[in-house]
């Protein structure tokens, strides 16, 4: 008797199905028909791997431990923004500068206190991208990905050190890039217009079941603010791969880099001469997720990133002493390098129907090197060891408690513990109230802790020896800044009226604000003011009629300082405007047209690069008109964008203004 064993193709991973052949051609014909592509009860009875396991399920908005604003892919395209920083002006409570003076456009939440925004955390696909070189600033990190690669930006307004790490004092910006499986094929875009706007971008994605890949390269260039130094250009390339090594596992690989070339300084300012500046950054990362069961999963992440900053300028020594000749020039070099390595392990566990726990550990090593800033060729190494955890607990039917904490040990500044608790109360019919309190820290950055800026140059001819002027010398006595934030939030969804309202009332108390003491040389850093930030902000989303989408934001902020130093010229209370509003209105029109009107108004506030003396209000109106187009098998969009239809406004420095700009964009994809 024949007993062929039919091996179902291993491609489909079935178990061996022994099929007995009773003699008879009829049955043999039947056996031949039983190929792997044929339906049987196996399709109904077989087990499937767990795909959407506990950590893969995002929290719905009414369960997030804080106010979250989500800017999705579609919204990003509609605003006509050319930088991620430009998008954040549509999130309530944010201050945005488009200047490249502090290396890249800046965003801050609840106050642009200084020229580097380092009180917020910026994550790209879970990888923290603040700059160790620039005292933790997120400006450069915002340039990492091209806008076309972004799936959505989630902004958590409020302190969340407990989940995201030490710098999440005022908030967290989480950029999620598009999954490679969603960007298969070719896509490209161009922007051309006034003010030297020249952007070009190309992307290609490929792959199949086992893995999908994408490479995206782009260049973004323009002439920058009027009065600022020179052209701003960013060149980027990013590669991403999403692989499924085994059912239930995901492996993500990323590699990329960007290069910013721009200019700093301005004419007539001898301390900040006009000069070119360059910043390069590269990264490699690997992200592995494994589902153990439907209620348990683990993930492992490793990333390495490097940055290098080039900035030198000639300083005429005649400014120091008229005895110098015109040819006595001293090159001030503010350049250097930094790198970081991070390893994170995370475990997600659903302990019961009412409890979900996510916890893990992270080791991060940062190295900064700059002769100009630290007066040494060796690297400053800071190692962080972190333990974090968050428990989601539903004690009763309409109540959710998120309780978490982050313990951090820094090799330089010791231990901190940042706890956070937030209660969400579902009142019913789409309404939720939130109450929470959290504590956060910002450890002093390498520069604030160890700066040692010397200017060493020969004395004028006729004298012997050198001048050794110490410009900045940190005494290294700094404590981390601490923040205790309390908030009450409300989220209401009204599907009948196609409306949703998100309100956040906050009381953020910061102690030990680290500030450079400029009144005496050498400048030192010290923990100075206590800063209190109180107020409220809300977002109203509405779809009033077919094809229309409205988003209206308002924020009311009052900043007070209790200063331990003479405060006459401290601009801190004006770091955020007392009132700011923004509106984005999109309307779909016939003939595949879409019109978007955007308006941003901000009360008096200090400019990011200057202090007390320059406080300005700002208003800006943008318009975008887009038309969907087809070209052969490709589809795309052509759009006209007009930025700042009104009067020019000051941005970053009083001397820099944002003039009106018009440009045309074209996007095509298969």
């Amino acid at each position: 008797m024949n007993r062929p064993v039919l091996l179902i193709s291993t491609k489909y991973r079935r178990s061996l199905l022994p099929l007995l052949a009773v003699s008879g051609s009829l049955l043999a014909a039947g056996a031949a028909a039983q190929t792997s592509n044929v339906i049987s009860e196996r399709d109904y009875l077989a087990d499937m791997p767990v795909v959407l396991s506990v950590s893969r399920l995002s929290q719905p908005l009414d369960e997030t431990p804080g106010a979250v604003t989500v800017l999705d892919h579609d919204f990003i395209a509609r605003t006509g923004a050319r930088d991620v920083a430009d998008l954040l002006r549509w999130v309530p409570g944010f201050q945005v500068s488009t200047s490249f003076e502090s290396v890249a456009p800046l965003v801050s939440y609840h106050g642009a206190f200084d020229s580097y925004s380092n009180r917020m955390e910026l994550l790209i696909d879970g990888r923290s991208v603040y700059s160790p070189y620039f005292i933790g600033s997120i400006g450069t990190g915002l340039q990492t990905v091209a806008l076309q690669d972004i799936e959505r930006i989630e902004v958590l307004r409020g302190s969340n050190s407990a989940a995201y790490g030490a710098r999440a004092m005022l908030g967290v910006i989480n950029i999620v890039t598009r999954h490679t499986a969603d960007t298969l094929g070719a896509q490209g875009s161009l922007a051309v217009g006034e003010n030297g706007v020249r952007d070009v971008q190309a992307r290609f994605g490929w792959g199949n079941q086992g893995g999908t890949f994408r490479i995206d390269a782009d260049r973004r260039g323009d002439d920058g603010l009027h009065g600022a130094n020179g052209k701003n250009q960013v060149d980027r390339v990013n590669l991403r791969a999403d692989l499924i090594p085994r059912a239930g596992d995901e492996l993500q690989l990323g590699l990329g880099g960007y290069s910013i070339s721009s200019g700093r300084g301005f004419a007539g300012n001898i301390d900040n001469l006009l000069r070119p500046m360059g910043f390069d950054s590269g990264y490699a990362k690997i992200d592995y997720k494994h589902s153990l069961t439907v209620d348990e999963d683990i993930s492992l992440r490793f990333s390495h990133s490097q940055e290098s900053y080039q900035d030198q300028f000639p300083y005429a020594l005649t400014n120091v002493n008229p005895a110098y000749g015109v040819n006595d020039i001293y090159i001030i070099n503010a350049g250097g390098q930094a790198s970081s390595d991070v390893l994170t392990v995370q475990h997600g566990l659903r302990r019961s129907e009412t409890q979900r726990l996510v916890w893990g550990g992270e080791f991060r090593s940062e190295r900064v090197k700059s002769i100009g800033l630290y007066n040494t060729d060796s690297s400053f190494v800071t190692n962080f060891t972190r333990l974090f955890g968050n428990l989601e607990w539903r004690p009763a039917q309409h109540w959710l408690l998120n309780a978490g904490g982050l313990f951090e040990h820094s090799s330089v500044t010791g231990d901190t513990l940042a706890p956070r608790a937030m209660v969400n109360w579902h009142l019913g019919s789409g309404q939720t109230l939130r109450f929470g309190v959290s504590k956060a820290f910002r450890p002093p950055s390498t520069f604030e802790e160890s700066a040692n800026v010397h200017f060493v140059f020969a004395k004028p001819s006729g004298y012997s020896g050198n001048f050794d002027i110490t410009n900045v010398k940190s005494s290294g006595q700094l404590q981390p800044e601490t923040m205790v934030a309390k908030e009450i939030g409300y989220l209401g969804e009204f599907p009948k009226w196609r409306m949703s309202l998100d309100v956040r009332l906050f009381d953020e108390q910061m102690k030990g604000f680290i500030r450079q003491q400029n009144s005496v040389l050498p400048k030192d850093y010290a923990n100075t003011d206590d800063v209190s930030i109180r107020g409220g902000e809300y977002t109203l989303k509405w779809q009033p009629w077919s094809g229309a989408r409205v988003m209206f934001n308002q924020s009311y902020t009052t900043i007070d300082t209790l200063s331990y130093y003479p405060t006459a010229t401290v601009g801190t209370p004006w770091a955020a405007p007392k009132v700011a509003s923004s509106l984005v209105y999109s309307q779909k029109l016939p003939a595949d047209l879409e019109l978007t009107l955007m308006q941003a108004d901000s009360g008096t506030a200090t400019l990011a690069g200057s202090g007390y003396k320059s406080r300005v209000a700002m208003t800006r109106t943008d318009v975008r008109l887009a038309k969907a187009v087809r070209w052969g098998a490709s589809k795309g969009e052509v759009a006209l964008v007009l930025q700042n239809l009104g009067q020019p406004y000051q941005d970053y420095f009083p001397a820099f203004t944002f003039e009106r700009r018009a440009f045309v964009t074209l996007m095509l994809q298969d």
Partner: protein, 314 residues
């Protein structure tokens, strides 16, 4: 004394001779192997039969290989009805020319029809099946009741499920739903088809087809549909565990209970129905975690009762 011993010998002979020697078997159950579901179904069917007076000695349970051996040898069985569980057993019994009705169970409709075609048989009261797959109208009714705001139903069809398309279209239209379909001819075409369908759908209806839905493809399909905030409505508990928001299925115990009813009819002297038999009892399962993440509020029990009420079932 001698009579006593003769009775004893006779009793021994009977027991040693095995079930094949019994002249009283009325039901023969032939089960495929490889899944606990077959045994669960058989057990529940036997329980119902037992409660209606069919004793265990009336029932013979065999694996498909044992049955094949029986068919080869002279030890034939003459029950009043054969019940085949699974496609392996159905394959076997449909090729053997049996003079007794055969009820095939735990088998999808398409598979049953294919087996019969290759065996040169036609379905009828001599050879009929209780299908495992839920009627399409019930699946669309579930979508309508559970996701009332979903107006566009996306579906991916492979070579073995493409035949469902016309029926799907007309049923969807009758319910005021638009169907967004893609036919996948090979696994390379899956991604493109999946994106095309998801771009324009509010819900993804899973239709069984080993080319489209298997342990390799399920990850991409669930992750992609979840990213697009599109729930999947599937046809087994395993899919709900994997991440489908909803599933509509008959569990093997329910199938066993329904099969028992038809077996009893035949034992009473009536014939099997000559038309397709659809499952009349079913379960609805919800993945509450996925549902919550998608902002859906679903009650599995309530949905099941609503569906039963709609079909005028108790």
């Amino acid at each position: 004394m001698r009579r006593y011993w003769r009775c004893l010998c006779w009793a021994l002979a009977l027991s040693l001779g095995g079930t094949a020697a019994q002249a009283q078997q009325r039901v023969v159950i032939v089960s495929s192997v490889g899944s606990a579901a077959y045994a669960t179904m058989a057990k529940s069917m036997v329980e119902v039969l037992a409660s209606r007076g069919v004793v265990s000695s009336d029932i013979v349970q065999l694996g498909a290989s044992q049955m094949a051996a029986r068919l080869q040898s002279a030890l034939s069985l003459q029950p009043l009805i054969f019940v085949a569980i699974g496609s392996e057993a159905t394959q076997l019994l449909s090729s053997a020319r049996l003079s007794v009705p055969v009820l095939s169970t735990l088998i999808p409709r398409r598979n049953f029809e294919r087996i019969l075609q290759s065996a040169g048989r036609v379905p009828g009261s001599q050879l009929n099946a209780l299908y495992l797959d839920q009627p399409l109208r019930r699946q669309l009714a579930l979508i309508h009741v559970a996701l009332p705001q979903a107006k566009r139903v996306g579906v991916l069809l492979g070579p073995d499920s493409a035949f469902e398309l016309p029926r799907l279209r007309s049923l969807a239209a009758a319910k005021g739903l638009t169907l967004r379909d893609a036919e996948i001819a090979s696994s390379d075409a899956l991604f493109a088809g999946l994106h095309r369908v998801l771009e324009d759908s509010d819900v993804l209806l899973a239709v069984a087809d080993p080319l489209v839905l298997n342990t390799l493809t399920i990850q991409n399909i669930l992750l992609t549909s979840f990213r697009g905030r599109i729930p999947m409505v599937a046809f087994s508990q395993a899919y709900v565990r994997a991440g489908a928001a909803l599933a509509l299925y008959s569990d093997p115990a329910q199938v066993g209970r329904q099969a028992a009813v038809y077996v009893l009819e035949v034992l009473r002297g009536n014939a099997l129905p000559d038309h397709a038999i659809e499952p009349d009892d079913f379960e609805v399962e919800v993945n509450q975690h996925v549902a919550r993440s998608l902002g859906l509020s679903l009650d599995a029990q309530a949905l099941r009762l609503t569906l039963r009420r709609l079909e005028n079932l108790p």
